[in-house]
Structure formats: C-alpha cells, structure tokens
C-alpha cells in the first residue's frame, strides 16, 4: 500500500502541459534521488492528447514501477489578451511491475500571465480494486505559484521563481514544500529545486 502512495505522489507531476497544440509532441522527465518519471504525449487536437508514462521509485531493497497510458483532456480554456486559464482532466490505467492493474485520474487548474503562474492539481492512483471503493483511494494535492521578475523575452532565457507545495495525507511526511527555479529557453523548460527537507528536484520538458 505504501508503495502505491509513493506512486500517487510521483504521478502528480505527470500533468505538466497535458495538452499542447495539434500535432505537438512533448517529452517530459522528472528526477529525484530515489525516483524517475518519464512521459511522452501527443496532442491530437486542441482538446485531447494521449500520453504514456513510466514511473520508478527505488526503495532500500526493491523498487516500485508502473507504466501508464492515459488520455489528457483540455476541458476548459479561457484565452484573454494577457492571460490563459485552463482546466485539464486526465484518466488512464496501466500495469505495475507486479502486473497489478492500476487506474489513474487527475484534474489540474492553472492560470498564467506574462509574469505570474499558478496551478493546482489533485490526483489519485490505485489498483482497480481500490477504485471500487473510492474512499480508500489514496490521493495527493499540489499547488504551485510562480513569478517572472523580468520582462519576457521570447528568444532569450526566462527564469521563473516557483514554490511548489504537495500534500498527501496518507504519507508519513504529508507536506512537502519545494522552492525551485523554472527556466524557459525556446522549446525547452527545466525546473530545479530542493525541498525544505533537503530533497532535490529536477524536471525537464521539451516540445518537439
């Protein structure tokens, strides 16, 4: 059960840029000292993308792994002159290394301007048996706030300051706060930071 909880925590980052543009391919990876997540998604149209993820978490004597296929849906988007707001849904399933069938569901809300970024997401991950009784499903919530202190420059490097907070009530350490820097350079985004308890974080995304 506790391994499942960890995977819920890790899967919460799978929602970054779930739908891009028609025909767009995005590659994503996230790395922590004891875990790795890889994801590729392909956007079929402005509302729908398909994605594949693989998550691995190393423990002292073994590891938990799961591979997922999921559908990402842009349920709502509001474009205005200076901002964009989105609601994304993601559902999917896959097999863990122990060939156990698992399900995954998530929601993400975000709002972004030239200089301000906010996102909130909630996700659950569990075996199909757990989905029969939703009250047993482990879940996690994540919030992010970011600011770009300088003028946006399309061709140059952009550096955002971001604070991420993750809450997973079932975990031994339910709250993790991670200040990080987010770098944008053309079609590449990468983020790096260290949580308050000292765990480093690195993730990267490329739009092909």
């Amino acid at each position: 059960m506790w391994k499942t909880l960890v995977l819920v925590f890790l899967s919460s980052s799978a929602l970054a840029h779930p739908v891009t543009y028609k025909g767009g391919v995005a590659m994503f990876s996230m790395h922590r000292p004891d875990s790795t997540q890889l994801q590729a998604n392909y956007t079929l149209n402005r509302h729908f993308a398909i994605a594949a993820s693989h998550i691995r978490k190393n423990f002292q004597h073994d590891a938990a792994e799961v591979s997922l296929l999921h559908a990402n849906i842009l349920a709502y988007r509001r474009n205005s002159a200076q901002s964009q707001s989105n609601i994304y849904l993601s559902v999917g399933g896959g097999l863990s290394a122990q060939t156990e069938a698992n399900g995954f569901a998530a929601i993400q809300l975000d709002h972004e301007t030239d200089h301000f970024y906010s996102a909130f997401s909630g996700q659950t991950f569990g075996s199909l048996a757990q989905f029969q009784t939703p009250s047993d499903l482990p879940f996690s919530l994540r919030g992010r706030l970011g600011v770009l202190p300088f003028a946006p420059n399309v061709d140059g490097l952009q550096i955002w300051a971001v604070v991420q907070t993750t809450w997973q009530p079932h975990m031994h350490q339910p709250v993790e706060i991670t200040p990080m820097l987010r770098f944008f350079y053309q079609n590449v985004l990468w983020e790096t930071g260290v949580s308050i308890d000292g765990t480093p974080w690195f993730q990267m995304m490329v739009h092909l």
Binding site: H17, V19, T20, Y21, K22, G24, N45, R46, L74, R77, N79, S80, A81, Q82, S83, Q84, E112, T113, D114, A151, P152, N153, V154, Q158, F184, Y185, Q186, N187, L189, H207
Partner: protein, 117 residues
Amino acid sequence: MLTTLFLTSLLSATPPSAEPPPAPPVEAAPKAVDPSVVIHVDGMVCSFCVQGLERGMSKLSGVTRVALSLEDKTIALWMAPNKVLSDEVLEKQIRDSGFDVAKILRPKNPPDSKQKP
C-alpha cells in the same frame, strides 16, 4: 600700406570657389518590408505558446516569414508573392494551436501580395 598688403594676402588665400562641392546623394536605407498580415492573439503568455504558434503558422501555404511578439501578443506574417490566406484559415490554425484570434490586420498595400477580395 601694411593693412592693404594684409588684406591682399587674405584675399589671395581664399580659394576661387568658397562653396564646398555638393555632397553625393545619400542613398535611403532600404525600407523594412511590412508584414502582409498582423494577427493579435489571445492567450499567448509563454515561450511554449510562441513556439507552438510559430510552428503552426510556418506550415501555412505561402508563408515566407513569421515573427511573434510575446510582449505585443502579435503574429506577423510575410507572404510569398500573390499568396493570400483568408481569415478563416488563419483563425483555424490559431485555434488548433490552442489560442484565439483577437483581430487580424492587413496593411492596405501589402508588398507582393493581393488583398483579400
């Protein structure tokens, strides 16, 4: 007498023509060609937005150059001679990229292109 000699020497030092030769005409710097279309886009807020839009617009038939401004939220398109893209085509491409068109401006006399009828 001395004054007369001094004035004479001054006058003799003066060149026959006091006016400098006319400067050769300076060629005007080549004027930057205005874009054929300028589109104001809603929702363009990040580098990824710009990348996606730029790729999509570059694929449109007849587009020779694309320039995006994240600050102004605009896409400028330069078209090949005698090529025109309708508003509908532009709007569809931008919507497929996940954004919305605020307005489309076309210069009155875009170089090397025909106005939309």
